[in-house]
Amino acid sequence: MSAVLEIRDLHLRFRGHSGVSEVLHGVSLDIRAGERVALVGESGSGKSVTARIVLGLLQELPYAEVSGGLFLEGADLNRLSRRQWQGLRGTSISMIFQDPTSSLNPVFTIGAQFAEVLRRRDPGLPRGAADERAGALLRSVSIHDHARVLDAYPFQLSGGMNQRVVIAMALANHPSLLIADEPGTALDVTVQAQTLKLMHDLVERSGTAVLFISHNLGVVREFADRVFVIYRGRIVERGPTAAIFEAPGHAYTRALMAAVPRITGGGPPEPNDGETAFLDPMVVHEGGGA
């Protein structure tokens, strides 16, 4: 069975005024159909850039150098033209960002933005039909007064409501891969938990593969089937969620877990940086086909 997403030996360098800095040092990762995979690390570890590379966004920056294998459902993404890659975004791959309210455009209604998303799959979809489909999708994320929501601007809705809207948008075109970059971190803890549960149920039902990016091990434990721990641009440990949580093998993973607040949420863990043990080779937990 081929993977939905496969990343092989991914390198990323930024060329800046003060020379070149390497951000990713050969990251490899795979996600199989219907699987939820978490990429865990502190901020600056390279998890968000990995997501943007999969979308092909980072490659458009003139000062970024990307190399490595990228395969979506067996197709080599690197052989796509910029235009073809763009064609995959919003259709085969979709993404959920950290703060739902600021990731919706403030001067267009939810309905207008939803229609634009639906037209990625169905160009020329009339607004009336789009609203109808959007209404049905909003019902699936438990929004029942969808007419009001579609007419509203993001600032008129609560953060949790916007998060549901964003989840509905992300799944609207039945993507084969959903990337969720710290979803709901900007929301308060109970709302975040609710919307994560909602997202969990939806992707489980639709069988959508998810790349779940987080610094929050508590959330990861609930959500993911498998975990990749990333530290300074390198994967330091990978394996099934249960295995990693039972017996974290790498010094960095252990430090990360020690820093986890007992309750879901809280600030990003910041283990003492630069401990030499963090640079130890990768720990691989077998099982789950990893």
Binding site: L55, G90, F97, S102, S103, P106, V107, T109, E116, Y153
Partner: protein, 342 residues
């Protein structure tokens, strides 16, 4: 939309306060003038009796506050006094000269928005690439010279060396156009005279462009700056992550949010053109209010000076009011806010 109406009422109120302030300011300036306005008006050959008579007629012997009271009372009746330069009521003079200036400034405003905004938009979407650098340098050059310099240069190039446009005036004299609106571009169309319309268009283009150059530069710079900021917002990243075409993101999803903060300044730049029209009208012999203004200022024609400044300020306030409404219309936060705040 009641929120918008509330906003309108509020801004209108503030505008009226400001206009009252402007009238006091300009009245004050006119009254601190060294020398006796009556003497200046009558000239050196008038007798002391004549001067005294005029002083009384103009209430010049009353305290300044009372003088201002008379001035406001006259103003409310639509009476700005008589111009010493044309010997006609100032209101008549203004009615005659204002349309030409308004037409020029409005046309320049259209050029400013029509050229400046797309340039800024393109520049921002090409950030860091050569079109961006080129537009930034050119728009900075545009704001780096007064409009009379652009007027003279454009005239030299496109009226003398390459005689594409006429040198002066609003329209060739041989066209007889009945004035309806005072805007020749409209009146020629109303008269159904296509040739006259084209002629008027050719006359207005160079002066309007000269007037608009720095506005175009300013609008482009502003639009670019605000759009560059907008491009860093998460909702633009989301639009890109969903594969919206780059052109559509630039023209719609990044442009509209960045237009709102730009508009206030664009309104101010438009107002600056009302002042700069003084310079451009002088170069192109454009028969507008500004040329009238310079003439009356050089003759120390107080009534006419006050009238001209007041009418220009009023125009400016109206423009700002329109801009505020436009912002309210574009910005859902204001449109839907309960308090209709600024």
């Amino acid at each position: 939309m009641p929120a918008v109406l509330r906003l309108l009422a509020r801004r209108l109120g503030i505008s009226l306060i400001v206009l009252a302030g402007v009238s006091m300011l300009i009245f004050g300036i006119a009254r601190v003038i060294p020398g006796d306005p009556a003497r200046i008006a009558l000239g050196p050959n008038a007798t002391g009796e004549q001067v005294a008579g005029l002083r009384q007629a103009l209430h010049l012997d009353d305290p300044v506050a009372v003088q201002y009271g008379h001035f406001v009372a006259d103003l409310l009746r639509g009476d700005l006094g008589v111009s010493l330069y044309t010997n006609r009521p100032v209101t008549l003079d203004i009615a005659q000269f204002l349309p030409a200036t308004l037409e020029l400034v409005l046309f320049a405003g259209v050029l400013m928005v029509g050229i400046g905004l797309p340039l800024g938009m393109w520049s921002a979407s090409q950030r860091g690439r050569w079109p961006d650098h080129l537009i930034r340098v050119v728009s900075l050059l545009g704001v780096s010279a007064p409009s009379f310099v652009w007027a003279v240069m454009l005239m030299l190039m496109f009226a003398f060396f390459l005689p594409v446009f006429p040198i002066a005036g609003r329209i060739t004299d041989s066209f007889e156009i009945t004035r309806v609106t005072g805007f020749l571009l409209i009146d020629t169309l109303l008269a159904g005279n296509g040739a006259a319309f084209v002629d008027a268009l050719r006359h207005i283009f160079l002066p309007a462009f000269a007037l608009a150059v720095s506005g175009i530069g300013q609008a482009a710079r502003l639009t670019r700056a605000n759009m560059v900021e907008t491009y860093d917002r998460p909702y633009i990243e989301m639009a890109r992550a969903y594969g919206f075409p780059a052109g559509r993101i630039a023209a719609k999803y990044a442009f509209k949010p960045s237009l709102i903060p730009s508009l206030t300044i664009i309104g101010l730049d438009f107002a600056a053109m009302l002042g700069n029209a003084f310079l451009v009208e002088a170069v192109f012999a454009w028969p507008g209010l500004s040329r009238y203004g310079v003439a009356v200022i050089l003759r120390k024609d107080l009534n006419a000076i006050i009238g001209t400044v007041l009418i220009i300020s009023a125009t400016f306030l109206i423009v700002n009011l329109i801009v505020d409404l436009l912002i309210a219309f574009l910005n859902p936060r204001i449109r839907h806010s309960e308090r209709g705040a600024r």
